[in-house]
């Protein structure tokens, strides 16, 4: 346990279709202003800034700091998508503990319209641009369709099994005014949705949105502490089947460092770009080793992806790596309003992503504790 605490978490409301006047910079600024108010700190107190964004380019963290009127002595960019939020948090906690900064704001966000998203996924990295984009794979959709087939075969799952997760998360989203999809979804509606790439249909694919997320880390007695952090990226160098993430390699050490186990978690967030990957992370963390049993017997009793997850709230580009952190911190600070999990004290958040060629290369996790 350290002296650094997360004392604020905010989200600039996600939107399925951003207005013409909305820019990435504006979304990040909105999240910044909101989190200062949430944490009760002044802009002049901020001396550290961390940024995760795909679409702010060519600007970087220093450009954003200047436009926000921040004079940082600690500055960091992390472009590693679904892993970026947890990585920025890891570094921010260490920076505050070491005295390199006293008050750090972490921001993640993107404005993604149809053309920007297409350009982003076609040029996600060189492996994609050179060997995948012209197939075309529709970004990651076709890749995770192939992965989900392997997952179905391995665990004897059918579409209706995955549907249970999607329907449950949508139910949770109904209590989150910030989610882009809040209306109830039935299993029949899930099954009847238009096909994207078999076995994936519309509600299996994370909706692309525009928005931004923010956290404040500073030295404080009360707030949310990072009890443990672990990461393992490039676990198998893309030579495996994608059905195990680096979390499987570090889960034991993560729980040992936290002094708690999977069963102790009051709230859980896993990176849900696709239902199969949410289930893989739950298995790797030791929370739900048997996905079929979990979906049929344990799903309702676990406070999982309480914002509705990205599958209902939306994926705002690199903000997706911070969305789960913001939700779990909000729960642990007791500020989750109608979706508050009573007396939540411990939570775990996992990050996953950066589809290198066939599946995500990055995986990390933090155990968070209210103090």
């Amino acid at each position: 346990m350290t002296g650094a605490r997360i004392v604020g978490a905010s989200e600039s409301p996600y939107a399925r279709h951003p207005g013409d006047g909305v820019t990435t910079e504006w979304l990040l600024a909105d999240a910044f202003v909101r989190v200062l108010a949430e944490a009760g700190i002044e802009r002049g107190d901020v001396d550290g800034l961390g940024l995760a964004s795909f679409t702010l380019a060519p600007d970087r963290a220093i450009d954003l700091a200047w436009r926000l009127g921040v004079r940082p002595r600690w500055l960091m960019d992390d472009g590693n998508g679904g892993a970026s939020g947890i990585q920025l948090l890891q570094h921010a906690v260490r920076a505050v503990d070491a005295g390199d900064a006293s008050t750090v704001v972490l921001l993640g966000g993107d404005r993604l319209d149809r053309n920007t998203f297409r350009s982003l996924v076609d040029n996600y990295n060189r492996a994609t641009a050179l060997h995948l984009a012209s197939i075309p794979t529709g970004g990651p959709n076709a890749l995770f369709a192939l992965l989900t087939q392997r997952h179905m075969d391995l665990h004897g799952l059918e579409r209706a099994d995955y549907g249970r997760l999607v329907v449950a998360q949508r139910q949770r989203a109904s209590r989150n005014p910030g989610a882009v999809y809040r209306e109830p979804l039935t299993l029949d509606e899930y099954l009847a949705a238009p096909v994207i790439a078999e076995p994936l249909h519309l509600y299996d694919c994370v909706p692309v949105v525009s928005g931004a997320d923010a956290l404040v880390v500073k030295r404080a007695d009360h707030g949310v502490a990072v009890a443990a952090f672990r990461a393992q990226h490039n676990r198998d160098g893309q030579d495996g089947d994608g059905l195990v993430t680096g979390l499987a390699d570090v889960a034991e050490a993560l729980w040992a460092a936290a002094g708690a186990g999977p069963g102790d978690m009051d709230v859980v967030s896993v990176y849900d770009d696709y239902p199969a990957m949410a289930l893989v992370q739950l298995a790797d963390l030791g929370i739900a080793p048997d996905p079929k049993r979990f979906l049929h017997e344990e799903l309702e009793s676990l406070a999982l992806n309480t914002s509705g997850g990205q599958l209902s709230a939306g994926q705002a580009g690199a903000a997706g790596g911070m969305h789960g952190l913001v939700e779990i911190v909000t729960q642990l600070l007791g500020r989750a309003d109608k979706r508050q999990v009573p007396a939540a004290r411990l939570g775990v958040v996992s990050g996953y992503g950066m589809v290198l060629y066939r599946y995500g290369a990055c995986a990390n996790a933090v155990v968070l504790e209210r103090t």
Partner: protein
């Protein structure tokens, strides 16, 4: 008609997409080895394009555009369009 797959000149480990240093031995010299066919592991279809994960005999699994309908277990010939693997006759 074949798909060139880079193979480490020092230890023979194959990599696709190409790497700079061999993951196994650290070697930096690569020789393109032509691969003529592979086994389909999974197939899907997106906007009318048939796509498969295909295991090559050198080890790497490639994502390929299919010219024919295919099923898991099928053996398909491999070629390229530009740098993209294409499978089927």
């Amino acid at each position: 008609m074949s798909l060139p797959i880079p193979v480490c000149a020092a230890c023979g480990t194959a990599a696709f997409p190409p790497r700079v240093l061999c993951a196994r031995c650290g070697g930096a010299e690569w020789i393109a080895e032509p691969v003529e066919s592979g086994i389909v592991e999974a197939v899907t279809e997106l906007d009318g394009t048939h796509i498969a994960a295909i295991r090559t005999p050198l080890g790497p699994v490639v994502i390929a555009r299919l010219k024919t309908d295919a099923h898991p277990g099928d053996s398909l010939s491999l070629a390229t369009t530009g740098l993209v693997p294409v499978a089927g006759n």
